[in-house]
Symmetry: C2
Subunit: 418 residues, 2 copies
């Protein structure tokens, strides 16, 4: 079999470990130079493919590529740009194939969440329909942990660790202050539709911290919530609240709805914490502090979960292995073998089963009152935040790599994106 | 000289390393059992002394006391309770002396910021006036870094490191997303009157990140700010804004004023980030994300500066040494000898010169345009964030210590606090 080139792109919201997957893909490809020529990366995700804005990763040293393993966010740039249905957006899909053909790209590695799994699947279908030989492999990534089939999604474990560590530390703070000052601390975390990240906040309960978790899966019940916080403050003197940005009122409206939408049509949220803080302050008359972690949580490479870093690398590596096995329209998955001791293997799922399915937190993982996590949820989460994987530091700051990102000479006419 | 007991209390907002100072005090005292009997700690700071709610630290093992070195927040509880002028609050000062007398306390170690330095100074004066032999030593602590005389305040270096690391990581995130999504990221940090913490955000500029810092020392100029952000977004594609909670409009009002005040009479702030985010989004029509770090920053023991942890321990140790030298109404300080290589020694300052003086960021540390830091500021800050000092982890979370906090039997009548 002759050598063909590969295309790799990062899609959607980035994570602390998506570059570890890039590292896994590129390092694995470099180990198979007989089969895989150059790995081209799309600048700003799939946009790079559409506009033929390709980065030649072969210009980066092995050491730099290794450095991706401990560098957060998307080293090649990501994008929020969803390709639509093939019927209505055929021009864009065909352009992708044109670019792939022009650069002899036979492997398409797309690193993203549910939306990009869908895109990857469609690219695979269209390349077959157009009789262009292409193996499309999706590399899973999402802090939201809402991809189906895989036990967890790379990127999630590190956010979960960040949230649990931060909530624990801040709880120690508010406990110190509660006698005369702040009695309730509210932390807003990500998770638009699924409460996996918020659930991680529930892990601190076994560290003797009174905590209330507000999940998007459970309609917000103001009275029950205030009563729960009041009980904890009376009994323990203080309380921490971890609220998902996706928490909704019973009528389906977000606590923090701002009325704006991103390119994928998702509501752009932010500000559930001040809303919840105001509710508590008004109802109980106690001093409340609040924090919104926003990008800090998903970029927090400094406190990444070692389990997550390793798995992110492994799914990248596995994507290349699957490509070399001739697989198409698949995604590496993490298959859990046991909770304790934690054991897993890297499996594989068909994209047809992955695309556009969102995995919410199961009801059995949420306590009866809707404000905390169960032992089953804890058993699920704890392995995912295991281990630390500290980056190197210079002058007090992490030494993250910056790529040269050398562009490949264009061969095609310009293409107008939406 | 016969042995007398000691009293130690934590005051005001806690930090990631105030317990390291407690560790320094208690370990140093245990090395001088011939001179210092029991170290009693005040539960919830000075309130513990007023209400005779004393904790017997001798009941804690050496290992547990050692664990304080890597445990954030106030292990004995802190408080926001400012003793007023001696003339108007003599009853409270006399009560302190009564409690100290009842428990044969000859050493008063008060661990806090400017307000507690003032209290410590007054206690020293009143004990002399009441002819009660007491050595009052203030142990410096404040994330705001606004204590005078000392080169820096323990607690600050760790917040500075947290802010610089977090801003760097989030900047990598927004840089990844900027092509099609978020172009500006706003991070709100603490610092009511002094912009030291915000200045730490400026450290990421030398990491090739376009950053704008909003200091409380510089009146907010909306037009100039928007123009600066616009230029950076045009030139670099994205931009990070680090805004101090204490940032004010030209008329002196806080960007984030909420109209409430704490027990010390300070305005209670929060919410500068959404205000700034809204200004940018409205003016430039770009997508903006914002985060409010709040307690996360000052509790972040997981990313504490090693320099800060060591200095926090050393000022605790030095406080005991000063007491044993017979000093009174003094505070250990950090005296910088050189920037690079960083060298310092632990010095001593008279409390008369410390109390109620706030050290703002000097104008020479802020760039001409008011939106960044100078080389001199950088030379000052970099040593303070040097080194990491990771806590141990169990099951993915830091192993922080919890004290037994055994109470001492009361000998006096109850006392009504305000």
């Amino acid at each position: 079999m002759s050598s063909r080139n590969a295309f790799y792109a990062q899609s959607g919201g980035v994570t602390a470990v998506i570059n570890a997957s890039a590292c896994g893909v590129i390092e694995a490809a470099r180990r198979h130079r007989d089969r895989i020529g150059t790995v081209f990366a799309g600048r700003n995700g799939i946009l790079g493919a559409l506009t033929e804005d390709l980065i030649d990763t072969s210009k980066e040293s092995d050491e730099t590529i290794r450095g991706l393993r401990s560098t957060p966010a998307g080293a090649f740039g990501s994008c929020r740009y969803k390709l639509g249905a093939i019927e209505t957006h055929r021009r864009e899909y065909e352009r992708l194939i044109d670019v792939f053909r022009a650069h002899d790209i036979g492997y398409f590695f797309y690193n993203g969440g549910g939306d990009s799994a869908d895109t990857c699947h469609k690219v695979s279908q269209l390349s077959a329909a157009m009789n262009y030989p292409l193996q499309a492999i999706h590399v899973p990534k999402t802090v939201d942990n809402d991809l189906p089939i895989t036990d967890c999604s790379p990127g999630f474990g590190s956010v979960a660790k960040y949230v649990a560590v931060s909530a624990l530390e801040a709880s120690f703070d508010v406990r110190s202050m509660a006698k005369t000052s702040t009695k309730v601390f509210v932390l807003e975390v990500m998770g638009r539709h699924a409460g996996w990240i918020a659930a991680a906040g529930g892990l601190i309960e076994t560290h003797d911290v009174p905590v209330v978790v507000l999940f998007p899966e459970i309609p917000f019940d103001r009275e029950a919530f205030v009563a729960r916080v009041e009980t904890l403050v009376k009994k323990r003197g203080y309380c921490t609240v971890v609220v998902s940005e996706g928490c909704r009122n019973a009528d389906g409206s977000f606590l923090a709805e701002q009325g704006t939408r991103d390119a994928f049509g998702h509501a752009q949220l932010g500000g559930a914490a001040p809303v919840v803080a105001r509710i508590v302050a008004d109802a109980l008359g106690v001093k409340v502090h609040w924090a919104v972690a926003d990008y800090l949580q998903r970029a927090a490479r400094h406190i990444a979960s070692r389990t997550d870093v390793v798995q992110a690398y492994e799914v990248g590596e596995k994507a290349v292995a699957l490509a070399l096995e001739g697989r198409n329209a698949v995604m590496p998955t993490i298959e859990r073998i046991s909770d304790e001791p934690y054991a897993y293997r890297i499996g594989v799922a068909d994209l047809a089963e992955v695309a556009n399915v969102e995995k919410a937190v199961p009801r059995a993982y949420i306590g009866d009152d809707g404000f905390g996590i169960t032992a089953a949820c804890r058993a699920y989460l704890v392995p995912l935040i295991q281990g630390e994987d500290y980056p190197a530091y210079v002058d007090g700051l992490p030494r993250f790599v910056r790529l040269n990102n050398e562009v490949v000479t264009k061969k095609l006419e310009p293409f107008a994106t939406r």
